[in-house]
């Protein structure tokens, strides 16, 4: 019980949980990663407590698994890989520290969710580019740290955008800020007094510390705050759909669209994914899917600041010309989908019942990065494997999200299933494993190698793996930060 007492001393008794139900809930997620029960769940309330926890973990060689978002979790990164782990539940650190309208920055703690942030920003006339219809309890920081794709590629000057600077408790137990914040005093308030705004993600010095935190699945340290760039909240908006029977028919158009940085929200869906995204309720999904085109590009257009309506009009005209050039039609709406449903999908959060789980209760995601020209080939690969393993092909959802201003594409497959049906679970698992191997072999880039993806990804390049292990060893010498993940 020494451990528990020590934890209680750090975060307080109310914030140390070890009841079986809680531990059971944290022992698994929606992925196929094997379940493992943590020893404790702790809920720090501030950076100092986080630092104390990490220092204690180093002293006791106790594994920590940092988690910011509320359940459900999907990729196995929040499930302990080793025994005797402590879940560090950061959801209680949920302050929006500051909204700086003048410089269009917001400062958040890890527990701040998209559902909380959006209205707070809107009140200041701001917004941030979000993942596609995130679940309301999804942590903004966790999403950015894990390089979840966001919907507006033209704003995506880098994959971590709009993440800028972090305040980090590193695996060593040291606190150090990243980016330009790493050059100033170790206090946000002190930096603000000097008119420093934590906007530059580079550095400090010759290192991009922030980039060592991204994609790390909590293996390098725990970020206690982040600065995030915001956009002006549009005062005029429209959206458009460009349908096609084949994905291939959309590729050249999308290349052009992304190159010209036309529009805000830009992504590609197949009918199955679109039906789930836009349906007002799970019951509607089937009929909606029937009515929708096989493939579509979704383009959101907006205008803010001066002349917002004219901005929308000019973009719409350019979009129209571009669509004609590629012999695509431009639809103002989709059959059976209301304006409110589209708005919710593009600009809002999911309902409590997360839209990806809504159809069947379970959903396996399979995603990677590639370039747009290669996307149709990967889609064909997964479709073939799904068909081979008798998965209803019409249920296979596909979402392609341009990233990094169109240079890379997040390609995501969604395989809904009934988690209570062992047969379905086994089938989806088999597809997942077979498709993952096939995609990897074909050159799909698993930039966020969760769970079983990690080993084959890191085995591809022993040198890069070694360098990463050196970095890990420096930043977390006792391997207390989420051990067992990635190549650690």
């Amino acid at each position: 019980m020494d451990k528990k007492n020590k934890l209680i001393a750090i975060v307080g008794a109310a914030n140390v949980l070890d009841d079986p139900k809680t531990l059971e809930a944290w022992s698994q997620d929606e992925s196929f990663v094997p379940a493992r029960r943590p020893w404790f769940v702790v809920r720090p309330q501030n950076l100092e407590q986080v630092q104390a926890l990490v220092q204690w973990a180093n002293e006791t060689r106790t594994p920590l698994v940092p988690v910011s978002s509320g359940a459900p979790h999907f990729h196995g990164d929040t499930v302990p890989s080793v025994p005797e782990a402590v879940i560090v539940d950061l959801s209680g650190m949920n302050k929006i520290i500051k909204i700086d309208r003048r410089n269009r920055m917001v400062y958040v703690e890890p527990g701040v969710t998209y559902a909380e942030l959006a209205p707070a920003l809107a009140a200041e006339g701001l917004r941030i580019s979000t993942p596609l219809k995130p679940r309301p309890n999804k942590s903004v920081m966790a999403s950015l740290l894990e390089r979840n794709p966001t919907q507006i590629p033209r704003l995506n000057f880098s994959l971590p955008e709009p993440l800028r600077a972090l305040g980090v408790v590193w695996g060593t137990g040291d606190v150090a800020f990243t980016g330009d914040a790493g050059s100033g005093p170790l206090s946000l308030e002190a930096q603000w007094q000097k008119n420093l705004a934590q906007i530059d993600p580079k550095g400090p010095n010759a290192t991009d510390l922030m980039r060592l935190m991204t994609g790390a699945q909590g293996t390098m340290g725990i970020a206690a705050w982040a600065s995030v760039r915001c956009e002006l909240l549009p005062s005029a908006r429209s959206y458009h759909f460009l349908p096609a029977e084949k994905l291939e028919s959309l590729v050249d158009f999308c290349h052009q669209l992304e190159r010209d940085r036309l529009g805000d929200e830009v992504f590609v869906l197949n009918a199955a994914q679109a039906a789930r995204l836009f349906a007002a309720s799970p019951d509607e999904i089937g009929s909606l899917q029937e009515a929708l085109p096989q493939w579509m590009v979704v383009v959101g257009i907006s205008g803010a600041a001066f002349y917002p309506e004219e901005r929308v009009a000019v973009q719409e005209k350019d979009l129209q010309i571009m669509a004609q050039k590629f012999s695509l039609s431009l639809l103002p709406s989709l059959p059976g989908v209301t304006h409110a449903q589209v708005s919710q999908a593009l600009y809002g959060c999911s309902q409590e019942n997360y839209w990806k789980l809504a159809p069947k209760g379970g959903n396996q995601e399979l995603f990677f990065l590639t370039t747009l020209d290669k996307a149709p080939g990967f889609v064909a690969t997964v479709q073939a494997i799904a068909a081979e393993l008798k998965f209803p092909i019409n249920d296979l959802g596909v979402y392609i999200q341009p990233q990094h201003q169109g240079v890379s594409q997040h390609v995501e497959f969604n395989l809904p299933y009934n988690p209570k049906c062992e047969k379905e679970v086994a089938k989806v698992k088999a597809i997942f494993e077979k498709a993952s191997a096939a995609l990897l072999a074909d050159g799909a880039y698993f930039s966020r190698p969760y769970g079983s993806w990690a080993a084959p990804v890191y085995n591809r390049d022993a040198t890069a793996k070694h360098v990463l292990q050196v970095v890990k060893n420096i930043l977390d010498p006792n391997n207390v930060m989420n051990p067992g993940k990635l190549c650690f």
């Binding site: 410089n103 906007i199 060592l212 169109g406 040198t463």
Partner: protein, 556 residues
């Protein structure tokens, strides 16, 4: 510095006798570097002479050279297009091989659809820009101009330029890269490490590029970057730039979808307001304060003379006394250049209209003479290609940028007057510096991708052929540091420049007082792993164990 001839022969065997030299005059051509005179004993123009210079042609040759250097304990200093005092060996008593990468000069590929180019270190921005413009694409050319190496600015040095505002800083434009560590290992980053091509610089998992890219990059201090991929940006102009007119002020016609303006503002407050409005309104393709490098007092006289192919500095002197020119200097005293480019004519018309609205709101105005066709076309050429960047040295060949502190507009508007007063004071105290007025602040509209954060540097011009002038510049550098400290402003570029001449202990002493030293210890540990024989120099800086604020990483 004598080293076993075996080392020379070993490297000669790698690259061939014609690609290595230790001829003293050849070596001097590498030791002679801009800014050396500001930091070297007796204001010498020479940095330490390399032990030899070698010209590898492939990554494998670079790797083999590194390994020989490890065996014989020879320091490594790679250069691409090769510029600045930190491009040279750092210390007199350390044998260093200068790796001149000019034979690695190929554009490996341009992927038009996915907007990715892969280049070797000696590909200049001008070359790649010319090739990608044919495909309707563009690249962010850094502030130092189009003569610079893309690999250098993306992988290992600052990556900002006038177009970073729209096209992104090259730190963000960096995709996959190939890094030969001092130990001779080839590290591939991003998608390259998974053998999936060059298109992504992040991951898998944490991004290895984070180890060395940072803010300044490692500047040749931690091995050699032999290739990188760079993200390209949209270009809606001509496939081939066709400059018009005689040298030096070539002019680029302005097409219907483009506008080129010099915008003036009445005060630094108005500057910040105008900046923030432009940023909020997301207009502009290139955003820069360019022509003020000549100093606000003299800029019109210089640039209007520059337009004439036979104009001389004597003409500048005459023009500067012309009351009309002085009036123009006042009109453009706080000004900047902006180029609007639309994907369509309608779009640029709207941007133009938005700019008008911004000016009406903030009191900004178009500087009339600088917006006339001849000057606007010259501005267009200058900023699209950045092929005149060495006008930095136009007065007398010596230029040092002080006060290069980037920040939010409110930060810049506050430090600019301090920088102006300090520079003006130093100009008046001696005749060692070019007297161009206190405001020779120049800089790009964004130091980072997309705007919101920028900075200016004072263009301090001095005569490298006049020791007293060189020393006046050095004095100004220390004065600027004192001004920063007195006003609570972070130290700028002059500090980084001066540091090149300091002994390790002095640097470490300074570093140890930094508010955060974590990263310097991280870098020490990285160096211990990847450069155990310390073949790289302190351009990849570190702090010795135990220095700085006590914490875990400091002590370990």
């Amino acid at each position: 510095m004598e080293i076993s001839r075996d080392a020379y022969r070993a490297i000669e065997d790698i690259v061939g006798a014609e690609n290595i030299s230790d001829d003293p005059a050849f070596l001097d051509s590498y030791a002679f570097q801009w800014l050396a005179e500001l930091v070297r004993p007796e204001n010498s123009h020479y940095m330490p002479r390399p032990w030899a210079v070698v010209l590898p042609a492939t990554t494998e040759e670079v790797q083999a050279i590194h390994r020989v250097c490890n065996k014989y304990g020879i320091k490594i200093k790679p250069i691409s297009t090769g510029w600045y005092h930190w491009a040279a060996p750092m210390k007199d008593n350390e044998p260093t091989i200068q790796i001149d990468l000019r034979r690695m000069d190929k554009i490996i590929s341009i992927d038009e659809k996915n907007m990715v180019a892969v280049v070797e270190p000696y590909v200049t921005c001008a070359q790649l820009q010319a090739e990608v413009m044919k495909l309707g694409l563009n690249i962010n050319i850094i502030g130092a101009g189009c003569s610079t190496s893309i690999v250098a600015s993306a992988s290992t040095y600052f990556g900002a330029g006038p177009s970073s505002y729209y096209m992104g800083n090259n730190s963000d434009n960096l995709l996959g890269q190939e890094w030969v560590t001092p130990g001779g290992d080839v590290v591939l980053t991003g998608s390259l490490s998974s053998d999936c091509g060059w298109f992504c610089g992040e991951g898998p998992g944490p991004s290895l590029r984070g180890v060395t890219r940072g803010n300044m990059g490692s500047r040749g201090g931690l091995g050699t970057y032999t290739k990188c991929a760079i993200k390209l940006a949209p270009w809606h102009g001509a496939a081939v730039l066709e400059p018009q007119g005689p040298p030096p002020a070539y002019r680029l016609p302005i097409p219907e979808n483009t506008r080129v303006y010099t915008i003036g503002v009445p005060s630094w407050d108005a500057f910040a307001e105008t900046y923030l409005n432009i940023y909020d309104n997301e207009i502009g393709y290139i955003f820069h304060r360019q022509f003020n490098l000549a100093g606000a007092d003299l800029a019109p006289a210089l640039w209007l003379t520059y337009l004439r192919p036979d104009g001389t500095m004597n003409d500048v002197e005459t023009a500067s006394k012309d009351p009309e020119m002085q009036k123009l200097a006042d009109e453009g005293r706080i000004s900047f250049q902006i180029i609007l480019q639309g994907r369509s004519v309608d779009e640029v018309k709207l941007q133009d209209k938005i700019l008008d609205a911004i000016m009406a709101k903030t009191g900004a105005y178009k500087v009339g003479r600088f917006c006339e066709q001849d000057f606007a076309e010259f501005t267009h050429m200058y900023l699209q290609r950045l092929g005149h960047k060495h006008c930095n040295f136009i007065w007398v060949g010596g230029y040092m940028g002080s006060w290069m502190q980037a920040g939010i507009p409110d930060f810049v508007k506050n430090y600019s007057p301090v920088a102006i007063d300090g520079f003006y004071r130093d100009q008046k105290q001696s005749d060692g510096l070019v007297q161009c007025g206190g405001d020779a602040l120049m800089g790009c509209g964004s130091s980072i991708s997309g705007g919101g954060y920028f900075g200016f540097e004072q263009f301090v011009s001095y005569d490298p052929n006049d020791k007293a002038s060189v020393q006046a510049c050095v004095k100004h550098m220390y004065d600027a540091i004192d001004d920063c400290k007195a006003n609570g402003i972070p130290l700028g570029k002059e500090y980084i420049y001066l540091m090149i001449g300091w002994p390790d202990e002095q640097i470490w002493n300074d570093f140890s007082k930094a508010p955060q030293t974590f990263v310097l210890h991280f870098q020490r540990k990285i160096k211990e792993h990847f450069d155990p024989r310390e073949l790289g120099d302190r351009n990849y800086p570190w702090l010795p164990k135990g220095m700085g604020q006590p914490n875990f990483i400091t002590q370990s």
